[in-house]
Amino acid sequence: MAQTSMTLPKAKEPSNLKNWLGVSPFFLFAIMFILFPSLYLVEGSFFNQEGQFTLQNYVLLLQTPAIVNAYKLSIQISAATAIGGGIFGFLLAYSITVGGLPRQLRSALITFSGVASNFAGVPLAFAFIATLGRRGFVTLLLKDNLNIDLYQAGFDLYTFWGLTAIYMFFQFPLMVLVMVPALDGLKREWREAAENLGASYFQYWTRVAMPILLPSILGSMILLFGNAFGAYATAYALTGGRLGIITIQIGAQIRGDVLHNPGLGYAMAMGMVIIMAISLVGYSWLQKVSERWLR
C-alpha cells in the first residue's frame, strides 16, 4: 500500500488518455482470454436449447442428484485436504521457523515445498499408484511385514480417501510456503513481553501468537480449499473420470455433452466459479485482517 503514496507528477487530461493507451494491450488480452470466455459461459448458462432466455438451468442444477453429489464430493475432498493439509503444513512451518530446528532444514524444506506444491497432475497420480496402489510399495510393505492389508481394511486409492491422500502431497507444502512468512512476522518483542509479564510458553501461544496468526491460518486454508477444488488433472489421471468430483463432471460435459443439455453444463461451470469467487473473497478479507499485525 505504501507505494500508492509515491509522489507522482499529476498527469493532465489528454496525456492521461495516452497513459491508458500504454496498458491497453494487457487489458485487451484480459478481455479476449479471460472476460470473453467467462461471459460466454455466463451467457450459455442463461439460455435453453431453443435459444430462449431462462433460469431453468440453475433450477435443474440444484435438482440433478448427480451434479449436487459431485459438488458435495468436491467440497468434502477440498475441505478435508484444506483442514488436514492446513494443520499439518502449519505444524511443519512452525517447526522450521520458531520450533528451533537447524537452519539448513528450513531452506531444504522450503525448496522441497516449492517442488511438491508444483508436482501435481499426471506424474503425481502415477507416484501414488506406485506407493499406495494395489501393488504399491507401501501397500506391499505393510502387508508383507506387518500383515496389514490396506485394501482389506477398506482403503482404496481410487476413492475419497485415496484422492485426499494424494491431494495432501501438494496441499501441505503450499501451507508451508504461505505460513512461513507469517510465522517469521511474529515479533520477538511480543514473546519477550509476554514472558516478562509471567506468561508461560503455552499462554504465550494461546493468548498472543494464535490470535495474531489465526486470520492468516484460516485464510491460507481457504486458499488450499480453492487449490483442491479446481484441481482436475490429478483426479482424471488417477481414475480416468470414474470418481465423480465436479471438475471431472465438467470435463465429461466438455468432451461430449453427457448431460444432453449444454446450458446445464455452463450453469455447472458457473457454480464452480461462484464457489471459487466466494473463497477468494474470504481469503483476501482474512489476508487484510492478518496484515494488521504481521508485516
Partner: protein, 305 residues
C-alpha cells in the same frame, strides 16, 4: 537457539525489568523444559513431513527401475526415451513453455512498468485481473476458450462476427493454448515482475535514463529489464514448471503435448510412466532450485494444479 533467546530474556529481566524476578527459578526451568519439548515435536513434524514427501518419490523411482525381472536397471528409462512420441510431445511442450514465457514477458513487463510509473490508478484493476485465474480454474478456462474460439468468434450477447474459429488450424490452436497458458501463469508473472520493480525504484532509473537521452524502447530493454531480471527469471521458471506437464488445456484443445502423452502411456504401460514421472519430478526440482538460486530464497514458488 531457543535457549539462547531465553537467556537473553532472563538477562534482560534481571537488569532492566524486575517484573519477572520474583517469579523465581522453577518457572524458568519449566519454561525451558517446554521449549525442549517443543523442539522434540518440531522434529516429529519435520520427519513426518519428510516421509510424506520422500516415500512416493522413492516408490516411483523403485518401480521405474524394476522393469526387468529381479534386476534394478534403467530399462524403463531407455524404453521411454526411445519412443519417438516422447521426444515430439516433450519438445512441443517446451516450445509452448518458451512461447508462453516470451509472450508473457512482452505483455507484462511494459504493463507493470507503465502502471508503476504513470498509471497508479490502474493498479487495483490490474491486480484484480491477475487474481482472476485463481477464480477460474483451468478446466473452466478451457471450457470458456472452447466455447468462444471453436466457433466463429462473435462478441458476447451480440451477433457481430470478428474472426474465424481458431481451433480449425494448427497454428490457431497453438496460439490459443499459449494464450491460455499466459492466463494460468499471469498471477505469478505479474506479481513477480511487479515486486521486482518495487524493489529497484524504477522512477529514478527512468529519470536517469531519460536525462541521458534514452528513448522508451531503450529504457525498457536496457534499463528496466536487466534490473528485474531475477524476478522475471523466477516467474519464467515457475511458468515453465506449470506448462511442461500441463494436461487440462492441452487435452481439451487437442494439443499433443507432454502431459496428455504421459496420461496416454499411463493407460497402456507399467514402468515407463513411472520413469517419466520421476524425470518430471527432477525437472520441477530443477526449476524450483533455480528460483531459490536466482532470488536468494525470496522467490514465490507456487503454481496451479
Amino acid at each position: 537457539m531457543a535457549s539462547k533467546g531465553l537467556r537473553k530474556v532472563v538477562a534482560m529481566s534481571d537488569t532492566s525489568f524486575d517484573i519477572s524476578v520474583d517469579q523465581g527459578e522453577p518457572d524458568k526451568k519449566t519454561r525451558s523444559l517446554l521449549r525442549i519439548g517443543g523442539r522434540f515435536w518440531s522434529w516429529v513434524w519435520f520427519i513426518l513431513g519428510a516421509i510424506y514427501f520422500l516415500v512416493p518419490l522413492f516408490a516411483t523411482l523403485r518401480h521405474s527401475l524394476r522393469m526387468e525381472r529381479d534386476v534394478l536397471g534403467f530399462k524403463a528409462y531407455e524404453r521411454a526415451f526411445e519412443d519417438p512420441s516422447f521426444l515430439e510431445t516433450f519438445l512441443l511442450s517446451n516450445a509452448l513453455a518458451v512461447a508462453t514465457i516470451l509472450c508473457s514477458t512482452l505483455l507484462i513487463v511494459p504493463t507493470a512498468y507503465w502502471i508503476r510509473l504513470r498509471l497508479p490508478q490502474a493498479r487495483r484493476i490490474a491486480e484484480f485481473i491477475t487474481l482472476l485465474p485463481f477464480v477460474i480454474p483451468a478446466i473452466i478456462l478451457v471450457f470458456g476458450l472452447i466455447r468462444t474460439y471453436s466457433t466463429h468468434f462473435t462478441i458476447p450477447f451480440t451477433d457481430i462476427e470478428l474472426f474465424q474459429p481458431l481451433t480449425t488450424t494448427k497454428f490457431g490452436t497453438y496460439a490459443l493454448i499459449t494464450a491460455g497458458y499466459m492466463v494460468l501463469a499471469m498471477p505469478y508473472m505479474y506479481r513477480s515482475v511487479d515486486t521486482g520493480m518495487r524493489v529497484v525504484d524504477i522512477r529514478t532509473l527512468t529519470e536517469a535514463a531519460q536525462s541521458l537521452g534514452a528513448g522508451w524502447f531503450t529504457i525498457i530493454t536496457q534499463v528496466i529489464l536487466p534490473n528485474v531480471r531475477s524476478a522475471l527469471l523466477s516467474g519464467a521458471l515457475l511458468t515453465f514448471a506449470i506448462v511442461v506437464g500441463e494436461v487440462t488445456l492441452a487435452s481439451f484443445l487437442g494439443v499433443d503435448a507432454f502431459g496428455p502423452y504421459l496420461f496416454l502411456i499411463g493407460q497402456h504401460k507399467a514402468y515407463e510412466p513411472a520413469a517419466l514421472s520421476f524425470v518430471t519430478f527432477l525437472m520441477t526440482w530443477f526449476a524450483m532450485g533455480m528460483i531459490q538460486f536466482v532470488t536468494g530464497g525470496q522467490g514465490q514458488a507456487t503454481g496451479a494444479h
